[in-house]
Homo-oligomer: 334 residues x 2
């Protein structure tokens, strides 16, 4: 392991043992529906409350991931994860049933990338044989917490994003597989001064740009070295802003720059600017990208989790929206 | 570095460069008042809102810590921390002004210990030269978020604890100093089924017992090997429960088992069972314990951060209170 600038390099390799995604009904009906390991028939996941439903979805994603490679919980040394709910209860309560040593994280929608970075550090440093990294969000628990009760039927502006009902879980280990984590750049907080919490993609775009730029500088690489660069949940507006910020530097990101928030739903699903939520990037990674990396269809991927570090209280107090972006470099077909 | 059971051992040493605590007025009037680096004259810390006040307190604790040893922010590779507020905004906004790569954590009141563990892993693994670890809470922002607006003047039951207005910040590094982190046990989530959110000390006591027991087993040591064992914020009731749980195993914790929640205020300050909040253990550690370790007055200390992973929503839904305890083993007078 080594460090250049802000970027950590895992020379000896941190490898992905398994991964899975559990999603809600709307996500199952979207263009990636067939790739997810578990699609809910009912967004309550058999529970009485949305919060308990989200916890159950986290457990289902973990169970699906472990069962794929015959792992048991006793083979995992610790779990790292989080969600969007106040006090991260959906992950906290899932950690109670998992029974593993647990590091609770809060990186807003960047949490999957944050957990992969810290999970990789634990493995690469010899502190854990296997780490379980996860992140989740649920449309219904998020909507009533951040915005309005569902029954209110509030109008959403065109810049608004749809919080994904989704969880992704992945297991990192020291033993070689077809996919590895080669490097990571933990993000700094940037705030371009946007105060409209229905326009979070634009608020997070600068942090995505800064972290990508930092990674390119630290690694001595550029956009052409990657088969895919994917941000977490900037959706159509933030995605355009990142492209434009690089263009001003004379750098063309090209066709290989995508955003998970634009992949999860299609236009007919009425989600406005696209998807958001911790679960969005986590599920796209674990449902689609990691299988493609394992199969060698993708060679080098920059997975850039993006998070808006605000709360309804900070927004009501007139504060602008600080953004963060954590980057993980993945290599597949090995 | 190595691992036995759940416990991480930092053989090559992770050392404390500096530390500081910033606290509110009530904490300044308590028995540890003289030990804190910054005591507010006004709990608003010159800001308009309690949340902004908490962010400012975080900045003040970091500034005080860095200035003690002449460090600048550019000497720090990343910050790890969190607080109790929804979406951890007080730390998130402070991270915006610090401008460092930032890992947001949510371990409820165990956050200081969680940040020291992950900060130590980053340093010991060679991923960071120096890490800034911190945790904060503010009575006024916590009270209105978790319980009632201050103006309501709600009655508090005798089991209730007083959320500390306090922040502790510490810098870890590879270079030798007088105090080191020698080992750490990340906690699992335990839930003894307590549903009274005015009795969180009792809810967290089992997790403290389990993590301490795990550490003693993994390290082959016992209570007599430590000059001090200190839990985060179990206060008088939880502290008694931990003592009793060990007694049932035939283990007497003795005089050297204390709780930060019982140290921060005195009886005359009308705090009922004692102090709580992320800032409680963080400030007692950085204000009192680390200086005593550096001076050699304390030799070996087990710092056990305790957290209740509930939210007002989970409590209102009738869920019980899951607890977690992260343990850090410190050695001083070196």
């Amino acid at each position: 392991m080594s460090r250049v600038g802000d970027t950590l390099f895992f020379e000896e390799g941190v490898w992905l043992n398994t991964w899975a995604a559990a999603v809600g009904t709307k996500e199952g009906q979207g263009p990636l529906g067939a790739y997810f390991d578990y699609v809910a028939r009912d967004n309550r996941f058999g529970k009485k409350t949305w919060e308990q439903a989200e916890s159950r979805m986290v457990e289902l994603a973990c169970e699906a991931a472990l069962s794929k490679t015959g792992l048991e919980l006793s083979h995992i040394d610790c779990a790292l994860g989080g969600d969007l709910l106040n006090q991260c209860i959906s992950t906290g309560f899932a950690a109670r049933s998992l029974g593993l040593p647990y590091f609770g994280l809060y990186g807003a929608c960047s949490t999957m990338a944050e957990s992969l970075i810290l999970g990789s550090v634990l493995v690469a440093g010899g502190f854990a044989g296997r780490t379980l990294c996860l992140a989740s969000s649920h449309f219904c628990s998020a909507e009533r917490q951040y915005r309005y009760p569902l029954e209110y039927g509030g109008q959403r502006p065109p810049t608004a994003q749809w919080t994904a009902t989704a969880c992704g879980a992945a297991v990192l280990q020291r033993e070689r597989t077809a996919v590895r984590v080669t490097a990571a750049t933990p993000g700094r907080v940037y705030d371009p001064g946007i105060t409209d919490s229905s326009n979070m993609g634009a608020a997070m775009a600068q942090s995505a740009y800064e972290t990508l730029r930092t990674f390119f500088r630290d690694s001595g690489t550029g956009p052409r070295d990657y088969s895919l660069m994917v941000t977490g949940d900037l959706a159509s507006i933030g995605h355009g802003v990142v492209r434009e910020l690089f263009r001003r530097d004379g750098v063309e990101l090209g066709e290989s720059y995508l955003d998970c928030g634009m992949l999860l739903y299609d236009q007919s699903q009425d989600v406005h600017a696209g998807a958001s939520g911790c679960g969005c990037s986590a599920a796209v990674l674990c449902g689609r990208l990691l299988p493609d990396l394992a199969a060698g269809k993708l060679k080098k991927v920059l997975f850039c989790g993006t998070g808006a570090m605000m709360s309804p209280v900070s927004a009501n107090q007139g504060e602008s929206i600080p953004g963060i972006c954590h980057l993980v470099c993945l290599e597949g077909g090995l």
